[in-house]
Symmetry: D2
Subunit: 367 residues, 4 copies
């Protein structure tokens, strides 16, 4: 697994958690690939995964893990128990980019990232490396940078490098990644599988089961409003209106796809550093009942962002690796279960789950 | 449609609402049978429905409708607009029982109820009458009355009469109805379709989409707690612990069926007369994330009980009538979409919806 | 009582409600001046109040009242019961301004408004008229209009007219009103009492009791975030960021004054037309406990805006009239109980209530 | 400080937290006695406090502290940093009683407890020891035990011993303690100060500011319903209906005292072990607005029980010690700020705070 944003909270939780589960210290809570319907699917075992990645910070993974444990994200004592695995992953992290003041051109960055990936494959004698983007959300396309100099957003540089190195790719963020117009044809011809985008971990996960309920019961939603409070790095990133816009596009799409049209209603994303790595999402749904009766559903979701994301990242990398091994290429539509803004497929979680199980069955029988 | 509890809030809303929708005064909000997937299904049109029923009160339907309008349950002006239909239905209501001090035996009551049903069919020259129980919830079986004298609960008297009169039967409440052991064989041999029980209108509806989400995402639910605040008659009835127990059994079943086992957690039902016909349900779900992280989902559902129930009652009666016309008999498992405690079938709402659509398709093709 | 915005929801509720309470049809719920501590205070009786006002719409008050009753704001049947009072008030409404395309200068408008007030006093042979601003919120000062042409905001034109006509003035909105720098000296020299601004009806009312609780218990608030969902005219007005900014300034002030400094946290105001005249405010308070423990308080306030405002408007007008009769002039600091952004005085509701009672006592003893 | 229940979560947090604050490792968050208005009040400094107590368990305090840190109640690393203080306190804990199967009579137990207190005073050459009850809630008086054998509840045995040893007494729980009829006269004649009962840490704290708000704004509360979810020992204890009844009496009293009469509404206390030491309280307040409008306030309070209680226990012991030093005796009415069910005084938190500040001023000037 090659993590773009390898020293962030999500990546640290992925690496420490994978080691903990592989060692039997914790059950694989939240990993759908470890449930009964996935028995017999030829997925890489957790103990066989090797970690590396890119990051623009040099803050060591073991220290980051200590901080996450002090903040209650990782269990007390876990960083110590998996310190060897964290140190090994930390050694395999290479400098990302572009950094502020970096005068390398896009082409040079892609070449460097590609070389890093190839070295990782070679050094560890790997069959394949799945590149997964868990870095901070970028401003939405069409923002200043795009207009100013027509350069690739960083997420697309990494995606480009993945294609050049022959690596499957997963975009867990709303950033552009493989969706850049200049990469589309290259991706299609690459023979590689790829999946995205934007992991469905909280408010949107809920919306993907609640919106179908309203639709199936013929209860028109008159307004769907929401506020997200996020601490941690994600909260700070999303105070950039362009980054928040990128995130919100996915949230709105889930409603529009499930309800026929997006109902009125704002979505706010606020940076609340006091929450640390926790996030809170409040949703207020005004719906209409029989004879015009006004009714309300409110939901409050309180979870730890990294702990919600990490098992999904592990699932996605394992499934994408299995798809690659099975010779499947192109967008992995059956992984829509995991994403806010998937490459096609149904919009309701139940239907997405059914597609995921069919995909698992296919992988099992192709074996 | 023959309503047991014909002068209650739900029945009044059913009758007034059916007239309003049939006259084009309101759209059929909340009626699943009026959505696109039901086009072409041979359901009785709303304008063809005729109403009658049993009740132990003689308070007239038009007055009850006025009260519901003053309380905001029915739209301003609606009771006046549909006064003819309310008066007609009111005339067709016959005395229920047993009343306090009623010394008729069960056998006499069943005979009287059966005669009422036959007269209704004859007077209006009807093809069929579907009996639907929308009366207040009875105490759970095994309560005092059962022990004391081994008599049928009233809901089973009406169910018995339905069987004797050859009428299909729908139980929208948690009361015993057709589930009485002494009625089981008779029901099976009757050649009639029947459905139940306990309409899924609020907290349990939500649980039937949220519980599958936790299961599909491999997030173990550690506790699911809930409090319901109800005004109106239902709140008062459910202060009887035995009645509340009947109601709660259905709620718990939805969780157990979707999660594999019922998680710890109480469900409280409080009578709050200040809420009028509105109800509020608060749910608190403590679930576990990756590496043992503690996370919380809370939901607050605020709706008008009668307005939530009425379109489902109309749906059920139409579907049951169509089943009868098509010669289908026995428990209507594909109607589990509507019930807390259905006669078999899947537990997740999405799967129940799929079964309902298949049933609609069957009715359409049998035509 | 002279209402600026005399045909809006608040004014309609004030006029209809005053008539209903005066006639004994409803108790004076929400009117603090009708509670025991105000016995013997020389306030104008409700039955003695006469209504007039300015508005830019000509939509008649009786029709507006019908709409409010259909929407559940006014009780069923009330518009009919008080139709005479509504019609009388409607006749006393004069055209406000400036309207779009109005080429009158500020001076002309003030002259016209002053003449309207004098005519009202004369026609009804009144001792005094209290002018109260219940019109839609204006954009915050410093907005475009201010920059462009240095004209008075409309609220200040009406305030100016009140001063010229010798009328006490109450600003129930966050608009500028009497706070315009060019009116300050005139107000001080006028010998008139005035009060403002921005009625404390929901989220801020709650904050004015919760913030002192945290301060008194030495629990530091780390973030206070809030989202307001408003339908009705107010929701639409407040989608203008400048108007929302005006509203939010008051909300932030309550926290800063009670907590020593304003904690981090956004306040959002969303227009949700589906809510009609109802508003919902969600607040999320992240506070710190002993040894750095992270704790959370959330509140959800659901109320009808006009019904929350109307009794406070009646209180304020009565108290201001009594102050005028008693010869009190200048800003009425003891009325801070009613306002988000008062003219000095304490910030905690309990202290503001104590000041209000002292003021009532003063009025009683001055008699 | 002599803690009854010295090895429970609250006592452990008190001891570890006092050491941490005294050593400058943490600020005194939540300790009102460390805020500016208490400057110059002759309170015992935190560094001068010595801890002992009674408990029926022998599970060592340092181990308990480790568990609390693993559960996120105490900060990571704190048990290690204050291990000396925890060990010292642990050594000073004496066996409580009666244990199951204990055949000692009440008189013998009181004698033993008194001897323990005297030994503590002597060993550490203390000026005084304040006894504070932080043990699990006992069943409400009038329960089975009272009827069966007329024995003292354990909390009253400890209170009796405090009187005999000449120690001031604080009851932080709803248990009987000093309120036993057979202790009343002895307490009054003892010349000792005492305070209670039942610390106001969450739902009731909120109610003590919200209920006055409704009263001051003349908004009648039509129903006040609440559900408490508690893990930890307290949750388990309160599944005993008699213990829950004891707890609820205090909660209802706050509403009755502030609103004139207790509004309808249930309070539920559920044991939810999955919450650990955290508690969640949901309150739903149905109140009436102008012209009978129905409005709703809901609150959700999520906090760590021990962390909420500990700073209040430290405050109470310091204030009671200062009262004793100043020669004040009898019930300490000005400490009502801290209690659900105080010995007289006002019911609104703001008024209780004012009384507390007056008391602080008295202590300062008596010096």
């Amino acid at each position: 697994m090659w993590l773009v944003g390898a020293r962030g909270s999500v990546a640290t939780t992925v690496i420490a958690g994978c080691a903990a589960v592989a060692a039997g210290l914790h059950p694989p809570t939240g990993m759908v690939t470890e449930t009964a319907p996935f028995d017999g699917v030829p997925l890489p075992p957790l103990s066989a995964l090797v970690f590396g990645g890119h990051d623009t910070t040099s803050y060591p993974l073991p220290k980051r893990a200590e901080e996450l444990a002090a903040g209650g994200v990782l269990p007390y004592g876990l960083p110590h128990a998996v310190r060897a695995e964290l140190a090994a992953a930390d050694e395999a992290v290479r400098p990302g980019g572009p950094l502020p003041g970096d005068d390398r051109e896009d082409r040079e960055l892609v070449t460097a990232f590609t070389a890093d990936l190839r070295a990782f494959l070679r050094t560890h004698a790997l069959d394949r490396a799945v590149v997964v983007n868990v870095a901070s959300t970028e401003p939405a396309a069409g923002g200043e940078r795009a207009a100013a100099d027509d350069r690739f957003p960083p997420s697309s540089l990494y995606a480009h490098a993945a294609l050049r190195a022959g690596c499957p790719y997963v975009n867990f963020t709303p950033s552009t990644g493989m969706h850049h117009p200049l990469l589309q044809q290259m991706a299609e011809c690459s023979g590689l599988p790829y999946a995205g985008r934007d992991g469905k971990t909280g408010q949107t996960l809920l919306r993907s089961v609640l919106a179908p309920m309203f639709a199936q019961r013929a209860l028109p939603v008159r307004a769907w409003s929401g506020t997200n409070l996020l601490g941690g790095g994600d909260g700070a990133t999303l105070t950039d209106p362009a980054a928040a816009a990128a995130k919100n596009a996915g949230k709105a799409r889930v409603l529009a796809d499930n309800l026929g049209a997006a109902p009125p209603g704002e979505v706010h994303i606020d940076n609340v550093p006091a929450l640390g790595d926790w996030k809170t999402a409040w949703d207020h749904v005004a719906f209409e009942g029989f004879l015009g009766n006004r009714m309300i559903l409110q939901t409050v979701w309180q979870g730890c962002d990294s702990a919600l994301a990490a098992p999904l990242v592990l699932d996605l990398v394992r499934l994408t690796a299995a798809a690659h091994a099975a010779g499947i290429s192109g967008p992995l539509t059956p992984l829509g279960f995991y994403f806010k803004d998937p490459d096609g497929g149904p919009a309701a979680l139940a239907d997405q789950y059914a597609e995921l199980l069919t995909f698992a069955h296919d992988l099992r029988t192709r074996r």
